[in-house]
Symmetry: C2
Subunit: 157 residues, 2 copies
C-alpha cells in the first residue's frame, strides 16, 4: 500500500506515543481522554486486565473499572521502561514495564495517603483507525519474583 | 477479500482451536508442538508473560522458559472457561480463564508432588499465517481478588 522507506519505523513511534498517551490519561485521571484512546468499534470487543483482576470485556465494563480506580487513587505516576513495539499491518503490540508510584485518598485530613511503589508488566494491543491508534486490549500483571535463571547467573554462590 | 458469509464465525472457531492446541501442548509437556504454535517470523517479535513474571521477548527466551516450566512440572491440567475471541483481518485476540491444576516433581519417592489449584487469566494474541494461526503474545496473570463491585452486589450487608 505504501512503499515509502521508514514507514514501519515511524508507525512504531506513533504507536509508542499512543501508549504514552494512555498512561498520561491515567496519571491525570482524565476519563474522557482515556475513553478516546480505547477502540470504539461494535465489531471488536475490547478487553482489559488490571493487575490481579479477572478479565473485563467491552468499553462499558472497562471504562467503569477505570472510573472506580481513579476515584480511589489520589496520586499515580508511571515510569515506563522496557517499551517494545511489535507491529504489522494495522495491529501493534506494545510490552512495557510500569514502575508505578501511587497513593490512595487521604485519611484523617492528610493531603495524600501513603505512597506505594508497584512493579507491573503490561501487554497493550493497539489497532490503527482513521483517528489514530486505539487500544484493543490492555493486560497488566504484578511482577512477583525475579527469574531464577537471572539470579543464578548474576549471584555467585 | 473474501465475501463468503460466515467466514468470520469459522475463523473464530479455528482461532479457538489454536488456543486449545496451545494448552494441550502445555498439558502434554510437548515443547516441539508448543514451538510450532508460536509465530516464527523475523519481523515480528513474540512476547510472553507467565503469571508473576517479567516480560520475555523473542522465540528463544520464550521457548526456554517453557522448557524450564515443563522440567519443573510433573502434572498440569487446564480447564478453560470464559473463552472469548475478538478477531479482525489476520489478528485475533483471545481472552480466557485458566483454571489450573498442577503438581511439581515427586519428593522422596512419591509419584507426584502435591497438587495445587491456581486461577489465571490470559490474553493470547494470534496471527494468521499460511500454516494456520500462530501465537504472537501470551500474557497470563494470577487472579488475586474478586472485583469489589460484584461482592457488594451479591453479599447483603
Amino acid at each position: 500500500m505504501n512503499d515509502t522507506p521508514g514507514t514501519a519505523a515511524s508507525d512504531a513511534e506513533v504507536v509508542e506515543a499512543a501508549n504514552t498517551a494512555f498512561y498520561d490519561a491515567l496519571e491525570h485521571g482524565d476519563l474522557d481522554a482515556l475513553g478516546d484512546l480505547w477502540l470504539d468499534d461494535d465489531s471488536l470487543t475490547v478487553s482489559c486486565v488490571h493487575p490481579g483482576w479477572p478479565v473485563l470485556s467491552g468499553r462499558g465494563e472497562v471504562l467503569r473499572s477505570y472510573a472506580l480506580i481513579m476515584a480511589n487513587t489520589e496520586y499515580i505516576q508511571f515510569f515506563l521502561t522496557d517499551v517494545e513495539v511489535s507491529l504489522i499491518d494495522d495491529t501493534a503490540l506494545v510490552t512495557c514495564t510500569e514502575n508505578i508510584l501511587s497513593g490512595g485518598p487521604a485519611e484523617e485530613g492528610n493531603a495524600l495517603g501513603p505512597l506505594v511503589g508497584q512493579l507491573v508488566v503490561a501487554t497493550n494491543v493497539f489497532r490503527r483507525t482513521p483517528d489514530g491508534w486505539r487500544l484493543w486490549s490492555h493486560h497488566g500483571s504484578p511482577v512477583l519474583a525475579e527469574s531464577e535463571e537471572e539470579e543464578d547467573e548474576e549471584t555467585p554462590s
